[in-house]
Subunit: 99 residues, 3 copies
């Protein structure tokens, strides 16, 4: 009933949401889910809830190869200048053909 | 110290929160956590934050058999007419007797 | 490219955010992400969005030994009097040296 996929989670500045969303779709993801977030990290407090300085948490369910492509792209594009966090794990999804 | 359980994550329209919450409890879950969400999927933008058209992300920690029952029910009840996303993974919980 | 780490998720009353954040950092975590949440559990409805009675969902990515220390501390400190939920799983992170 379920299909094994990668769950890719990205935590970053809210400003990046639109660009990042377009990029994960361009790399082959079929959708993503975003929640507002805040936090603390190497770069200090990561504030949210007040405009452009906030954080988001984006989740993408996709095939392993797509997850790897997205990860490689984000690493190359954002890691030098952004406090972007990226991690992945396996999940079992229903309607796997949609992801 | 920890007990292996299933973490079931459901992303759906906010309108379904009350009904879905009642259903997961009826199928044997002992609780759930909801966060506001938005996103993009096969059905286009999934907007949030503004009333009934928003999305939620619901997490349920439960025994594997309960997760399977919930998944089967949701598939039968919602998949034809709703852009509901459902995936599961293993987690190790403290106080496993509560889940 | 990725490093295996523990993803520790804590769901608790919003009031605990500051104290819990300080504690996870003191036990060796290098950051955490917080989202607003609400839910239902053994203790009844866990409401959010309205001030101190709300819930939060805190995620910490850290080494397994740090996750165990945090879990042991939270169990000892909060489990008797708080409806705190704690679970963990494995994730593969980029820039593992930061976690």
């Amino acid at each position: 009933m379920t299909t094994r996929r990668k769950l890719l989670t990205i935590v970053c500045e809210s400003d990046l949401e639109k660009k990042l969303g377009d990029e994960v779709m361009a790399f082959g993801a079929h959708g993503y889910t975003v929640t507002e977030a805040r936090g603390r990290g190497a770069g200090g407090e990561r504030d949210a809830a007040w405009g452009p300085s906030g954080n988001i948490r984006m989740e993408v369910i996709c095939e392993a190869a797509v997850a790897d492509s997205i990860a490689a792209h984000l690493r190359k594009t954002y890691f030098e200048h952004y406090a972007l966090v990226l991690y992945m794990s396996d999940v079992d999804v229903l309607r796997g053909e949609k992801f």
